[in-house]
Structures are given as C-alpha cells and as structure tokens.
C-alpha cells in the first residue's frame, strides 16, 4: 500500500497506531501487531548509525541486560532468549555492548559498512582476566 505523505492527510483526520483493532496490546508481541504507517515502528532510523552492533550468539547467556537497557527497543528477545537486533530502529549507541557481561562479549560495535559474516568468523576469543 502506498504511503500517504505527511502533507496529504485530510485536515483533522484521525491517524491510528494500528490498522484494525488490538484488544490486548500488552499481550500481543510486535510481529503480531498490524502497525499503521503512522506508528514510528513503521519508520527507520538506520541511517543515523555510524557504527552498528553485531550479535554473536555462541557466548550469549540470555541475561537480557541488552534488552532492558537498549533505549530503542532494538534488542529482539522472545521466550526469554535474545535472538537478534532490529536494524531499522537501532541508532548505534553502543549501550548493549557496554552492558553485555560475557567474555568475549556477545555484542560488539563495528563500522556500519562492516560485513556481519566476516566479523562473526573472526570473533575475538575469550580474554584472560587482567589482574
């Protein structure tokens, strides 16, 4: 469906968050919601990023620190597992990397143009504890 331009809505028109009705929003995960074009969920801020996080699940302990402290609802956790990053909404702040407690970290920042597969293939190894 073609998007209506910001200056094409009828004056006084009601803009809704969802297409159709959701009775229990808190009980409906994002992929089951029909967001309208007027929810910022339908927009993207990916062009804000200079750096991006990459997630390596090998060492992840599903602590969910990244989920709770991500300001941009960009850590996708389902059934208590961290499963990936929402790259449309991630602004590349790097908080998730800072709070990730594993050794090596399960999230690291890379330049926006970095190749995910290549970076995952040479993920750093466990670091010896500095004393």
């Amino acid at each position: 469906m073609a998007k209506t331009g910001w200056d094409e809505f009828e004056i006084g028109a009601m803009l809704r968050t969802f297409d159709g009705k959701i009775d229990d929003i808190a009980g409906t995960i994002q992929e089951n919601r029909a967001y309208s074009q007027n929810s910022s969920f339908s927009a993207s801020v990916s062009d804000w990023r200079i750096e991006k996080p990459i997630f390596s699940k090998d060492f992840c302990i599903d602590c969910q620190f990244c989920w709770i402290y991500c300001p941009d609802i960009s850590i996708i956790s389902r059934d208590k597992k961290m499963i990936g990053i929402d790259m449309d909404h991630c602004k590349g702040c790097g908080i998730c990397v800072e709070v990730c407690p594993t050794n090596p970290k399960s999230l690291l920042m890379f330049p926006e143009q970095a190749d995910e597969e290549a970076e995952l293939a040479k993920w750093p190894a466990k670091q010896a504890k500095e004393k």
Binding site: L15, T17, A26, F41, V45, I68, P71, S77, K91, M109
Partner: protein, 318 residues
C-alpha cells in the same frame, strides 16, 4: 487484567511486549526511553499517558508518527499532569454513573515530564494534582537541565554544572544554586507514595512503579535520566553514568510512604567518590581546575550529609 504483573527476574521481564516504539527521534543513548520502557513494561493494564513539552514529547510525536501504543495526550509544557488528572476524573465519573463500556479494565494514569516541566514550569499544576488526590502517577525524567531547548538551567540543575544560561567561564563556575529537593516537597503534600528511581536499578524501579500503580491516590516518581548531549558523555556510557550516580549517592534511591515514612531502597556495596561521577561528564570539566576544586569537596560533603539525613529519617520512622 488488573492483577500485578509477575516479574521475578530479567528473563521474565524480557517477555514484555513493549508499548513504546523505536524510530522515535530521541538521541542515541538517551535515558528517557529506557525509563519509559521500564515504567510501561511494569504493567499489562491499559495506559492513559501524557507527556509535557520536552525531549520525550517532541521526539515521540513527530507528525504524522506516534511512538506510543497507548492513549497519549500532549497539551503544553506545564499541564501534562493536569491532562492526565482530567482524564482520571472523567473515568471516575463515568464509572460512578455506570457508563464505562468495559468497567472491568483497570487503566493506569501516568504523566511524564522533564525536570523543567516539573520542578519549574509545571510545578503548580503537579502540586494541584497531588493535593486533589487524583489516582495518578507523575514521573519526572530528571536530566537536570532544559535539554530540548539547548541546555538552560532549571531548579534541578546541580551546583557547578555548566549550562547555556549559567555557563562556566572566566567569572563563573556555572550553576550557583543547589538542586531543589522535589521528592521532599511532593511528599509534604501527604501523598501515599513518592520515590526516586534510576534505570540501572530496574528491579527497584519495577517494584516502585508497581506499588505506585496499585496504591490509591497520587504518586510522585523522580527518575534520574543521564543526558548524553547536555551532560556531555559518550552515548554508550549512559548506564555507566547512571551507575556512578546511584553508587556515589549523588542520586540516592529511596521511597516515602504517606508523606513521612522513609525507606532507603538501595545501599551501594562500594560507595564511589562524587569526584568520579563528576569526572565522567563534560558539564563538570571546569571544576577540576585548581581554583574550583573546593567545589568538588563541598559536593562530597553535601552528598554525605544528605545520606546521613536519609539514614536518620529511615531509622526514626517519621
């Protein structure tokens, strides 16, 4: 609906379906949204929300977008609290008259506002809401500055902070006045619950928000919200700065019940010197010059004195 959401641990919390959306225009690393997410995710009940003018409002309601999956209203800078109070009064009236279509739903009424909108410009409105006893919660996103308009000082700005209207320079070390104790002022209204929260201590936050939502009557919450832009630190360090704030006791976490009974809810194992908190932020950089170092010492003394006071209050149960 309407029973308290069970959140035993972070894994369980992470099954929440957020009602606050990304691609809002808050800065990368902004703590406002971390706080909002923790508050909204503390309940599964319907939400009736407002935001006063400020970063949160401006960045989450950019025509033709909304970042809110809940009823949300914005009117002006000063009156987000009264907007929610009005909705709450209407809800009560319709309930009494038996005119609610779904009377078993139990919506929560929450207004969000910055420190400028709460400590200064919306002060009288919030005071009215607290005094009239509305069943609502007012949450301050306290970044200690008017961030949205470029960093002017508010009555929440702490001594020595450099702001655009109280800049540090040749003749001044920046803000000269001490931060206003808003929690004490709100508690003095005799409201059932007021508290300070911080987003790093999410469990403490959730407990307080859930208590505040259950309690009958007005609730005041002051949340520290480190601002990467105005406090001048790297966006990745938002949680680190919050840790320094709570662990240096610059921002102690406590609650006040019925206007008098004070409980400290977080006691850091290792108390961090205030100097460390200040050194991590550009807004205090100038205080590390020899001529201003006495101010850092005075800060530490103020923080120690406040902590001793809170402890005495807790012990005395008055």
């Amino acid at each position: 609906m309407s029973e308290i959401k069970k959140i035993k641990n972070l894994k369980e919390f992470s099954t929440s379906a957020d009602r606050f959306e990304g691609a809002n225009l808050l800065c990368p690393g902004c703590a406002h949204s971390i706080i909002v997410r923790e508050v909204l995710n503390a309940t599964n009940d319907d939400l009736i929300l407002s935001a006063s003018t400020g970063c949160l409002e401006v960045c989450t309601a950019v025509y033709p977008y909304t970042s809110w999956d809940a009823s949300w209203i914005h009117i002006g800078f000063e009156n987000g609290s009264t907007a929610v109070a009005g909705a709450e009064s209407m809800y009560k009236a319709l309930k009494t008259k038996g005119r609610l279509k779904q009377p078993d739903r139990n919506p929560k009424f929450v207004s969000f506002a910055g420190d400028g909108a709460s400590y200064d410009i919306g002060f009288q409105w919030i005071s009215g809401c607290m005094e009239r006893g509305h069943n609502m919660m007012h949450v301050v996103l306290d970044n200690e500055v008017y961030a949205n308009t470029g960093g002017q000082r508010s009555s929440s700005t702490p001594i020595g902070s450099s702001t655009t209207t109280a800049p540090a320079g040749r003749v001044s070390y920046g803000e000269q006045k001490n931060k206003k104790d808003m929690v004490a002022i709100m508690a003095a209204h005799g409201i059932p619950y007021s508290a300070q929260v911080a987003p790093n201590k999410w469990k403490d936050m959730v407990k307080k928000i859930q208590h505040g939502m259950e309690v009958e009557g007005p609730v005041f919450i002051n949340a520290i919200s480190p601002c990467t832009t105005e406090w001048k630190f790297d966006p990745k360090d938002t949680m680190h700065i919050t840790d320094l704030a709570t662990d240096s006791l610059v921002f102690p976490l406590y609650e006040i019940i019925d206007g008098h009974e004070l409980n400290i809810t977080y006691r850091p194992k290792d108390i961090v010197p205030v100097e460390e908190y200040m050194a991590a932020q550009g807004r205090f950089k100038h205080l590390f010059k020899d001529e201003y170092k006495y101010l850092i010492k005075e800060w530490q003394e103020r923080v120690d004195a406040k902590w001793a006071y809170l402890n005495r209050r807790e012990e005395a149960r008055v």
